[in-house]
Symmetry: none
Subunit: 225 residues, 4 copies
DNA sequence: TATGAATGAGTATTCATTCAT
DNA sequence: CATGAATGAATACTCATTCAT
């Protein structure tokens, strides 16, 4: 009991230590030594749990993906599809999705996929399977409901889901300098709302307005400042 | 003179050799030895021209960025803003932009920025300055012209330009498994056209149609196959 | 009792597992883990029985030595010193001694002594004490009997015993490529008989002949083929 | 010129440092670091010259073999086959051959072959080709000359050569405790002479006597002391 | 200027050994 | 007594970088 408990704890400690190190330094630069130290275990323990650096990396990616998946799914469950609140809720969900994508765990995933999928294409598939597809599927379902309710003109909900993500993220990289610089929350919020607004315009909503009182048009172009 | 000429040649040879190696292997995995061999020079020559690996990397990124910039600008110059052809031309420009983003040189940039900008944020700024901003500015100008001509409802051309790029790329990563797998040209074409169509819908065009006879709606969802 | 019985069993299982692993892989390359797995016990059990790798090794060597000793002594006991049969018997004993030296257990000893005696000279002494000297003494006694019976001119039986072993092994390493390649039994047999024949010639037997009908002179030089 | 010269020097320095370390510690225990330090070069230099530990080992073995070969051939060239001196010369050559086999370089080879040929059978073949066979061939030729001159009854000179080596070495391992202990020169000398004497007795020489005045029979059994 | 040769620093990995259970 | 879990120490190997030529 205790033995197994301890084992589980160490496994978690290693994964928790590995994710930010891999995320900030990349696969090559990240050293097993550094991960072991950060996790408070010795190097051979890592090897006994994960077999090697490559496998530790894959399991770390998969672990981050499921965590990211859970966060995003929880956000999507808050989407209110009632005729009165669905627009305001969609704005809020967009903002929250981007927020949870900007979490360190998620930035780790984003960078990692881009950087290492050339070396190991399996990684992209893993992440899509564990995090990408479930989230897209969930959003696809919600958009289909809105379409069926006649609130949204959505011929292809799966395509719409992908475009929704593309639009809410359209300005994020330049606002955060690709995740290397923190950005003010309200700046990000307005950038996301601009994306949601365009999404709604493209799907038959005449003049969508974000719920809060701040004007979208003023903040839509934050690079100008 | 001959000396300078030869020097220029070597510099170019090194940059030409470095880009694909950095692009496919990443900064850490790429060895200066391999680049020197591929360029047909010796290692100290690289050091005398570029000072070190880090700087060679930066100059390689900047070099790729200007090349990428030139390609995209040439594409944008083909955009026909005449009332009769602007829609079809926008569809074509979208397809061509994605094509030139999928070139190996550009994939190199994309991966590199994602992978290494945490380590060296300067890289992101360099690429945006040399490639990102000029392209966005050029597209912004064209969209403003279409707006002024009353063809497109575009309140914020700079925002519209960013959203245009986001939409035409919305499905590309999953179609190409993040650039690791070749995708059929017509599949990519339809995915891009779906993005352009949404862009036009959001900006006041009632029922935009891609120029070729292939139906967008059928192919808008290529993952289903 | 049961406890002690089980303990003895485990001790034997460990020794039986250790000998071939040490013999084929050498002291350094052999891992305690591999021996524990092969013996069906856990690593700490090995430490509790033998204290450490070095001591396990010594005990394994000593164990193999006594086994080897028993085999060789049994062979020597079959030496017939009767005036009618002693020659044929000596040929047969030579062949059997080489056969039992070529057993895997013995090859292990041979390699081990050569390889590790520089690191731990105690090993050579152990093996000589447990296996070498008893065998030489036994052969010395037999040769002395033959000398006393006037069948063999042997001024120094102890020296003769050593030379007997040297001669029957003279060609074995090259025939078996130092034990790494199996050699046909009859080829080995003729090589050994050539050694016995020279031994007999040196000790006053005019024209010794091996018992079987195969001609020694034809096969004395197997490398020529 | 100088560069190459230096290169040759370093190669030799590495080989000279490697042989005793491999010889005393064995392949596994010998560390590349130790060899580099002993040779006065850095580790990467060893890798650039030899590619890796395994290849350094093979080249070290081959190098020792050719050195050993040269020494032994020089000794064999001193063998006087004249009717007056051939017996005394054969005694002397036997002693000198054992002496050069007891050199550190040769002990290295002997241990190495025994220890590592199971892991890499190529090693045995290399040594036999570079050192064993040439020496045996040279001795075979000399013995054939003695046979043709009617001085020695040698039906099979190649076999005789192998038996000559076996007999002169018959007592050496126990005298030197397998090379781990120095032995007095005159003790070794008498042991070798005992082997030569037996060889001569077996090949038709009635009562061979070693050249020096020391009695062989007294010293033939040094283990008794 | 261009280079072959050399190196110091750093990494993944393995293994004998020891506790806590 | 037997063991799963953990570790400190050690090793082969690589690479960016720099001289001497």
């Amino acid at each position: 009991m205790a033995g197994r408990q301890r084992g589980v704890d160490k496994r978690r400690a290693i994964l928790d230590a590995a994710a930010p190190i891999f995320g900030t330094q990349g696969y090559e630069r990240a050293s097993v030594d550094a991960i072991a130290t950060a996790a408070g275990v010795s190097k051979p323990t890592i090897y006994s749990y994960f077999g090697g650096k490559e496998n530790l990396f894959r399991e770390s990616v998969a672990d981050s993906a499921v965590e990211q998946n859970g966060d995003a799914l929880r956000v999507l469950q808050t989407l209110d599809v009632s005729p009165e609140r669905w627009q305001a809720s969609l704005f809020e969900v967009g903002v929250k999705l981007v927020e949870c994508q900007r979490s360190s765990c998620s930035m780790f995933l984003y960078r990692t996929i881009a950087a290492e999928s050339a070396r190991d294409p399996e990684i992209y598939r893993t992440v899509r399977e564990k995090a990408g597809d479930p989230i897209l599927d969930a959003l696809t379902g919600r958009l289909a409901m809105l379409g069926n309710a006649g609130l949204l003109q959505v011929a292809d909900p799966a395509l719409a889901a992908r475009q929704f993500f593309a639009l809410i993220n359209a300005q994020i990289p330049e606002l955060t300098e690709n995740g290397t610089r923190p950005a003010a929350d309200d700046v990000v919020r307005r950038a996301v709302q601009a994306g949601v607004r365009t999404f709604l315009l493209a799907h038959g909503v005449p003049d969508p307005q974000p719920p809060a009182s701040t004007s979208v048009s003023q903040a839509a172009h934050p690079l100008a400042s």
